[in-house]
Symmetry: C2
DNA sequence: CGACGTCTTGACCGTTGTCAAGTCATGTGG
DNA sequence: CCACATGACTTGACAACGGTCAAGACGTCG
């Protein structure tokens, strides 16, 4: 019991939740906790032996920078998410904190060893990896098929889901975790288009903007409709 | 030795390659081989207990169909690739053969059991899953940042790599495994744009079209340049 | 107060989607 | 054997969505 695992807010939902207490503490002994301020990088594309980590609190973005300097956000990481490329010789993407974030980091070698030691951990990471795959594919689908307004509506909807802690209904008021520029980078749009379409969605009566980042959800069903996705309820 | 594993063309590269011969044969006993003709479906989005499979030969596409009937191709699967969502209660996407394909299929329960039995298999599947994740993310990056011509050039380049069996240089003549419509669905474009941009790439002197599907690579460096990616050689 | 960063708004233009013919190869039935 | 239908692809004209460029509003911090 040499660790903070006992009080860890994601101890029941992170990958390590599948371990016994002893196993978990042993693993934790190999790792260390770390705090990142907004904008700080966990690792950059190209880093060798980039660390792996479980996100304890806060939020991260995974992004690629093409050679003209354009950023493309590929994924967001929420608490209890796992980050790290276990097998690639170097990191392919940047990982940066969106808000003040606490992480539980591990050297790649330690995680690899833990995978061999604890088969249930391998299984848990596999599950997480497949979930990440699904999330990335749904972003791909969104960006390829939907127009700007639908993409934005879908993203706002997702944030409303993420902001509400009860997983089944939406937060009625929350802050966008991304700047306009980041939203644009995520959806493959420009800042200006994001701004305009946000205005249109507001005008349509689905949301109300509260300052720069705040959103109040007025009409969830309308938002859903704008996003072009099937409503999930009767 | 009750199986065809001995002569399997992907026995050294598929996930099962990490198993010992006995383990592999035991797993193979639980699976069965299957052949799909072009257009045949392995499973559809929504299927419960969709099978898992290793692709032995041929090619598959993973695609999502939105409710207006538009298909979006999310990934291609090449021989030795693994398909299947191990943990989701139902399949999220369609999986369809692009060419006549041979597969080694397994019930999900059997794969799950095998993962527990053989930790090295879990590790191999985790590795594959992470590779799939990278591939999906690079498609996402491509579709979000590059214009139509660059996307198409990048795709052709990838096919040239895939068609050459020596992994380090390009096939100089090959057949596109996708129809124009499928290319369009994969890149988030329309059939017409694909056709036009193909013409422009040909006119630029990078390729030569041979019939409907054939491509002769004239100037690989130019193709690379058009794709907007860094050339990989001196 | 002024400078800066973030966001908004407007005018304009280009790439790409849409609609519509038209070509070409293949296969079918008279 | 030829006429015709079919499906995949190409090409053209046009329109629209979203990108680009430019100016301005707003809030925050020095």
């Amino acid at each position: 019991m040499n660790t903070a695992c006992e009080t860890c807010p994601v101890k029941d939902s992170a990958a390590c939740a599948v371990l016994t207490e002893e196993e978990r503490d042993a693993l934790a002994a190999a790792g260390r906790t770390r705090t990142l301020k907004r904008g700080e990088m966990l690792f950059a594309a190209g880093d060798e032996n980039a660390a792996c980590a479980t996100l304890v609190s806060g939020a991260l973005k995974v992004s690629a920078i093409d050679r003209d300097g354009n950023e493309q956000i590929l994924a967001l990481v929420h608490p209890s998410g796992f980050i790290g490329e276990l097998f690639a010789p170097f990191a392919h993407h940047d990982v940066v904190a969106l808000t003040e974030s606490r992480l539980c980091t591990f050297a790649r070698a330690d995680i690899n060893q833990a995978i061999d030691l604890y088969p249930s951990l391998a299984r848990a990471l596999l599950r997480r990896s497949q979930e990440d795959l699904l999330a990335t594919r749904s972003l791909l689908e969104l960006n390829a098929t939907a127009d700007a307004e639908a993409r934005l509506a879908a993203l706002i909807h997702d944030f409303a889901v993420a902001a509400s802690h009860s997983s089944c209904h939406l937060a009625s008021e929350f802050e966008l975790p991304l700047t306009r520029g980041e939203i644009a980078n995520m959806l493959g749009l420009t800042i200006e288009t994001v701004s305009r379409k946000l205005g249109e969605i507001e005008e349509a009566g689905a949301i109300l903007r509260k300052g720069k980042r705040g959103i109040e959800l007025i009409d969830p069903a309308l938002l859903q409709a704008l996003s072009g996705r099937q409503a999930a309820q009767a």
